[in-house]
Symmetry: C2
Subunit: 458 residues, 2 copies
């Protein structure tokens, strides 16, 4: 569907020529997210205010074209691509940190602020914003809110949802609304704030975000722990959490992930190491020392082959860089990646890892898993060549089995990536008919014309 002349003229009225892009070259740049499938929009606009977004959505309702909100496009489930064409609305020009309130530990930001820039800004003032998705250097806070981004620190600090106090948002019908409060507590009316968090840009375009901040921990320390088996690593995680020490990150890498990581940098691992944990603790200096000692004792008791503390911030950073580079390095195993982010109750990780091992043998496809062991969030990847129809069919069968097993273990199909378009066909495995009917009813209530980010989630 192409935009009508009337729509193009009206959009030019709002955005001028500078902030409305309609050339093919410009549109192709906004045809992808990290999922790597192509949906070319009819136009791309760059609003600088809620009012412009309001006018755009009112126009979309009137003339019937889709609008797809987008931050930096780092999502992995197609949430920000224009499946049905229409206008991609890019929020990156709305990138002001409006206020950092050092008395009340809150911040007010526009949606286009880069997550990593926000981390730096609040940390410079002695404050801390825990959500830290892998793409933090590029992703926007608006996108983080839309997807309810997580990351490794969730084991101790929770996810984006836990830090959003309120938002300003534009409804698909064009009205500007304000939800939530500026305070830690607030129970006046239904919780529209958390309804919008994680709604994947289908209910409203977020134009202002009120965030809760914490005091910046005085100290952190990182441990790299090697194990001869994934089972032992998983057992160590269970024992750490049960001990009452809550690290801020407990990341694991399986044998295949380690091979990938080794291809980037020498991890200096003992012979026979088949799994590693990266554990980060934080708090006051004395608390960190106590936690480190406790954790080291526990992992040794659980059979660790080697326990090494990063000697300094530089070495800790190197360890984390390696962990974050595993994902792109997976292309060693195949040209196409199917990337899932299932979650199981933490104690079920060994069962899940065993399942993955047996599927690997059964289907003969390269599979890699790593992720946030502390909260049971497994980034499970199948590497294939999509041009090979047999590989594609096998991969689909693997995903199906993995999803069924995840749900049987009491888990969920997505911890932080969302449904978007890639998990849409599976949503009925996790959610019942009535639950889906209610969600569709909410979508209809917010977006009676169905113009905002259509064909996503359900």
């Amino acid at each position: 569907m192409e935009l009508k002349r009337k729509a193009r003229l009206a959009l030019t009225d709002i955005y001028g020529k500078e902030r409305l892009k309609t050339s093919k070259e410009d549109r192709v740049c906004y045809a992808y997210d990290a999922r790597n499938a192509r949906c070319i929009p009819d136009a791309v606009v760059f609003p600088t205010s809620a009012e412009e977004i309001s006018r755009t959505l009112a126009l979309a309702c009137e003339l019937g074209f889709p609008v797809v909100p987008r931050g930096s496009g780092t999502g992995t489930t197609g949430g920000s691509v224009a499946v049905e064409g229409g206008v991609v609305l890019v929020t990156t020009l709305m990138d002001r940190i409006v206020e950092i309130d050092t008395d009340n530990f809150t911040a007010e930001v526009e949606p286009g602020v880069i997550t990593g820039d926000f981390h730096k800004a609040v940390e410079a003032k002695g404050m801390f914003y825990p959500p830290d998705p892998s793409s933090a250097g590029v992703s926007t806070l608006g996108g983080n809110v839309a997807e309810c981004a997580g990351g490794p620190r969730a084991v101790k600090y929770g996810v984006t949802r836990d830090y959003v106090l309120g938002v300003e948002a534009v409804l698909p019908t064009g009205e500007i609304v304000h939800t939530g409060v500026r305070t830690a507590k607030g129970v006046v009316g239904y919780d529209l704030t958390r309804l919008l968090v994680g709604s994947e840009g289908t209910l409203a375009v977020i134009t202002r975000i009120l965030l809760k901040l914490l005091p910046l921990p005085a100290a952190t320390a990182t441990l790299k722990v090697s194990f001869a088996s994934m089972d032992e690593a998983a057992e160590a995680v269970t024992r750490i959490i049960a001990s009452g020490t809550l690290p801020r990150c407990v990341e694991y890498m399986d044998e295949a992930s380690i091979s990938c990581a080794q291809s980037i940098a020498d991890l200096d691992l003992p012979q026979g190491c088949r799994s590693i944990l990266l554990i980060e603790v934080d708090g006051s200096a004395s608390e960190v020392a106590t936690s480190l000692e406790a954790v080291a004792g526990i992992v040794k008791g659980a059979g660790a082959m080697a326990v090494e503390e990063a000697r300094d911030a530089h070495e800790a950073k190197r360890l984390w860089t390696v962990r974050k580079k595993v994902s792109p390095a997976l292309y060693l195993f195949g040209p196409d990646k199917i990337n899932e982010d299932i979650v199981v109750p933490r104690s079920a990780i060994p069962k899940m890892v065993k399942k993955i091992e047996s599927l690997k043998k059964e289907y003969g496809l390269p599979m890699v898993s790593f992720g946030h062991a502390g909260d049971g969030n497994i980034h499970f990847n199948v590497m294939i060549d999509k041009k090979d129809p047999v590989q594609k069919l096998r991969a689909d069968a693997v995903i199906d089995e993995i999803f069924d097993h995840t749900l049987a273990l009491g888990g969920t199909l997505s911890g932080e990536h969302g449904v978007g378009i890639t998990k849409r066909e599976y949503i009925g495995k996790e959610l019942g008919d009535k639950e889906l009917e209610i969600m569709r009813g909410i979508k209809k209530l917010f977006d009676p014309k169905g113009i905002l980010n259509p064909s996503k989630i359900f």
Copy 2:
């Protein structure tokens, strides 16, 4: 409106004679909550399963009678009283702690579990459920979820919303739904869980709750700090939070609250003390020692007259008992209490306290404030004799001014009590027309016949 014969027969079918109460004596017992206004229901039922609740709600839709869910009736805004008559559905027989999972730090409970019993059960296993409303000894977890209960520990640990992973609930139309996940992360579909938390029993009857738990802190310590003025106390709170030490509770009492508390027990305060802070820190033993020292230093710097640490658990408990008894002791000042739980950004507490002082002089009514200074949640009370129409009018004017001032300071009209019926007429001060329209639309979507807890919130 009385229940039709057909409805009574059908309810007898579901509940037998034992669990259906229709005598006036029985109905009067369920005509009140802590707000102290009388609404006698037509019948009271005591379900033992989601299926029975489902049948009851389907029947209510068919025959058109209201159903009002109720736990222990400790709410303060009329949320559990049958304003339009009908059936009060009491969940107290559904009081099983179904599971406490020590590996994954989760629990599954029925809605009728008493909050304090749950605290004891999880603490016996070395785990911790932070939400701790004043009524914890009596209130139910179902009621806590319906109202999004808070309490003093929210400053560090958040509120009920932050601990609810998922629920089983019966929709007003009778369908049983399951929302959320058993894991810390989960982003499949819209967040129906948080939509139900704090919805005051107007969207669904909660029949099962999945809760997140934390490791039980190894140590706690309580400080009682005396100040010559409320301003100094408030300044101390701001400095403590800004220092990076996050106590788990920071409670304050103003001069009038202190008088009340003194009437219960000698608080052993220095001459001229006009405000006290109760500060509780927790963590490992060493962390608690460090925090105590830091906090003591800060409050002295802010002008504290005296800083005393509770010498033992017994003394700490006594301090907290006094704090919790202030609310009932307020009846010293008048036969009727108007109890509000406004929240302002923490740093605005001195401004709010000054406003209260000036209103006291202006209107000549006894007013008392105390509450959760750490999160800006002020329990503000006006004591009157409602039979005196002049006092009643004055009190209404005071409340109006307090609410306007709260919102002007960036606050909210309720931190933990909810809207119910007592704040319904004020909700338009805080929420815009479009936001209310969306909320009413959600109510209609869940409850097309309007039979579940009608006349509440809006």
